[in-house]
């Protein structure tokens, strides 16, 4: 369906993913340790949420703000299975993801009838409702409430056999690699999907759903598939996060924590482009972390001002347009000797 890409472009498409994956996997060998490794682990998991938002909402323009609900369902299923049924965390990840995907259809179903702002607001209400339930009596007695559910973290039973000094570095490093592999796989999957025929159909729905239906696209099927991929990504992120960072608190359901970073990455990165949001996901984290050293407690304020400026300056997304410019510059350089 797309115009044939030049060889140079094809190579670049492959290359940017490979280079990013390589960088992610090599960073610890280059001496990245401690705090920054933890930060990067978290941001790797956030990449899953960003891609989850971008692959469904960025392309079909059904703005699904219920991401925290999906991630939270997976996290709570995992924790509950472990605490009450004594299922090991490693095993519980699969059922947790399954349950979260099933529950996420609570968000999807209304989208068959409701479009636009109504759907977005409804999907936003679900995590808020869930957060309210988790923190109020009598449910909070079982779900841990504000204090959270505690359980031993992923791989902790193995780490306990190590000498005390090696435990924390071991856990940090293994969590980092788990998150990095998840991030690379998620990126490859969504990139492939977004630039396939199915991705084309998703964008067609975003532009004009009735017209898309008219051209023979099975809009329902396309929406279901991309929503499934999207909620699977969010569930995996939620389950992994819960497994790595006990105790599990209501924080995972609060939109400010698990919706705002992916949403800003998607908008600043350029909706539906996968590449832009992924870059923005890492770049924004870097800005946010570095701001602490520069402006101290004013960091949130300054960060938000930067965000506003970026959105107003380039509503289509700053990062993706920069990426396209850089790519055409490189391809022109490669092609230049031939002409």
């Amino acid at each position: 369906m797309f115009a044939r890409a030049s060889i140079a472009k094809k190579v670049l498409r492959l290359l940017h993913g490979l280079l990013a994956a390589l960088a992610l996997l090599l960073l610890p060998l280059l001496g990245l340790r401690g705090y920054w490794l933890d930060v990067l682990t978290r941001v790797n998991l956030f990449l899953l949420l960003t891609l989850s938002l971008d692959i469904y909402s960025g392309t079909t323009l059904y703005l699904n703000l219920g991401i925290p609900f999906i991630a939270g369902s997976a996290a709570y299923t995992l924790a509950l299975l472990n605490v009450y049924q004594k299922v090991p965390l490693e095993v519980a990840i699969a059922p947790a993801v399954g349950v979260a995907i099933l529950l996420s259809f609570l968000i999807f179903l209304p989208s068959l009838r409701v479009r636009g702002i109504y759907f977005s607001i409804m999907s936003l209400l679900l995590p808020i409702i869930a957060a309210g339930i988790v923190t109020s009596q009598p449910f909070s007695l079982y779900l841990g409430g504000e204090g959270g559910l505690s359980y031993p973290a992923l791989l902790y039973s193995y780490a306990r056999t190590l000498p005390a000094r090696e435990r924390l570095p071991f856990l940090q490093l293994s969590y980092y690699y788990i998150s990095a592999v998840a991030a690379v796989v998620a990126y490859a999957l969504t990139y492939k999907l977004a630039y396939s025929d199915l991705g084309f159909a998703m964008r067609a729905i975003g532009q004009d759903e009735v017209l898309a239906e008219g051209t023979g696209i099975d809009t329902f099927r396309v929406k279901v598939v991309s929503f499934l991929v999207s909620s699977a990504l969010a569930s995996v992120a939620g389950a992994l996060y819960a497994a790595m960072r006990p105790p599990l608190t209501v924080d995972i359901l609060i939109p400010a924590n698990t919706l705002v970073p992916p949403l800003t990455a998607v908008v600043v990165g350029g909706m539906g482009s996968i590449v832009g949001p992924a870059i923005a996901n890492y770049l924004l984290m870097l800005i946010y972390e570095l701001l602490w050293d520069v402006v101290g407690r004013w960091r949130t304020v300054i960060y938000m001002v930067i965000l506003i400026a970026m959105v107003i300056a380039k509503p289509q997304g700053v990062i993706f347009s920069l990426y396209l410019k850089a790519r055409s510059y490189v391809t022109n350089k490669i092609r230049a000797p031939r002409t």
């Binding site: 703005l63 179903l109 702002i117 409804m122 800003t264 949130t300 001002v305």
Partner: protein, 284 residues
């Protein structure tokens, strides 16, 4: 029986404040076609400004309240000019920009006012409503809220500016043809909604504790009420406010205040599944 009376009285009292607050939100949602996520923080801003004017400057309540409301209106206009107007063509972008404003102000309040809840002094005295003692503050709140609602209805129906607002809410392009300037209408709406948020803020500050993040709960309530009632329908918003207030109070008295935040929202999700465009809303 006694409990039912409490639920009815306090439910209706709360409904009136939800109504005034939601109408402002509904207005900006209708005109600009985007949810102004900074609307909740304006409510907090006005409360804090009134508090500072009373405690630090020593102004009497009514003067401080009027100044705070006026300032909130101007703040709403400035916020809109800076973050809503430049991103109008980009609804998702407006989500980010208005939310950023909300966080900026929240962060500023945290640094300047601290996390400790703050309340304004109550009006002294109580009156008995159907045998239940109700603070005079509530009476003030209800009468001002209802007056604000009535004023808005008259304003939208009877004045040229009000009709221009309705025209723009109906169709941005059509209103251009009627030689209405939508951007000017947007400015008027921003100012007006700022006044409504500010008014609710100063009136409720003596009854509900004010914290830097206190704006989110009323914002989500307004969200839910406007969606339930149908965007742009004042009657629908009124019905939805009453439903919301009554359900909230009923749950507070029976299941506890924790679930009272949740059940009304849950109800709204269910209603929306059955009627996707709200009680009085029209389909597209």
């Amino acid at each position: 029986m006694e409990e039912l009376k409490y639920i009815l009285v306090f439910g209706l009292l709360h409904s009136s404040t939800y109504l005034a607050f939601s109408l402002g939100f509904s207005l900006i949602l209708g005109v600009a076609k985007i949810p102004n996520l900074a609307y909740g923080v304006l409510y907090v801003l006005s409360g804090y400004v009134a508090y500072e004017l009373m405690m630090s400057v020593g102004l009497p309540f009514y003067v401080a309240a009027c100044l705070a409301v006026a300032l909130t209106g101007v703040a709403s206009l400035l916020v809109g000019e800076a973050t809503i107007r430049p991103a109008l063509k980009n609804p998702v972008g407006v989500f980010i920009t208005t939310m950023s404003v909300a966080y900026i102000l929240e962060e500023y309040f945290k640094m300047s006012m601290g996390l400790k809840p703050v309340t304004l002094p109550l009006l002294p005295g109580t009156v008995s409503v159907a045998g239940i003692p109700v603070s005079n503050q509530w009476i003030l709140v209800v009468s001002v809220s209802l007056a604000m609602t009535l004023a808005l209805v008259l304003f939208l129906r009877r004045t040229d500016t009000g009709m221009a607002i309705r025209a723009v809410a109906e169709s941005w392009e059509e209103s251009l043809r009627l030689s209405i300037n939508p951007l000017r209408v947007l400015r008027v709406t921003l100012l007006l909604t700022g006044l409504y948020a500010g008014m609710t803020g100063v009136l409720l500050a003596p009854l509900k504790a004010l914290t830097p993040s206190a704006g989110w709960a009323p914002l989500f309530a307004a969200f839910a009420i406007v969606i339930l009632g149908g965007v742009g329908s004042i009657v629908g918003t009124a019905i939805a406010s009453v439903i919301y207030g009554l359900v909230e109070q009923a749950v507070t008295f029976t299941l506890g205040s924790g679930l009272a935040r949740v059940v009304p929202l849950l109800l709204i999700v269910v209603v929306l599944l059955l009627r996707p465009h709200g009680i009085m809303g029209r389909g597209e």
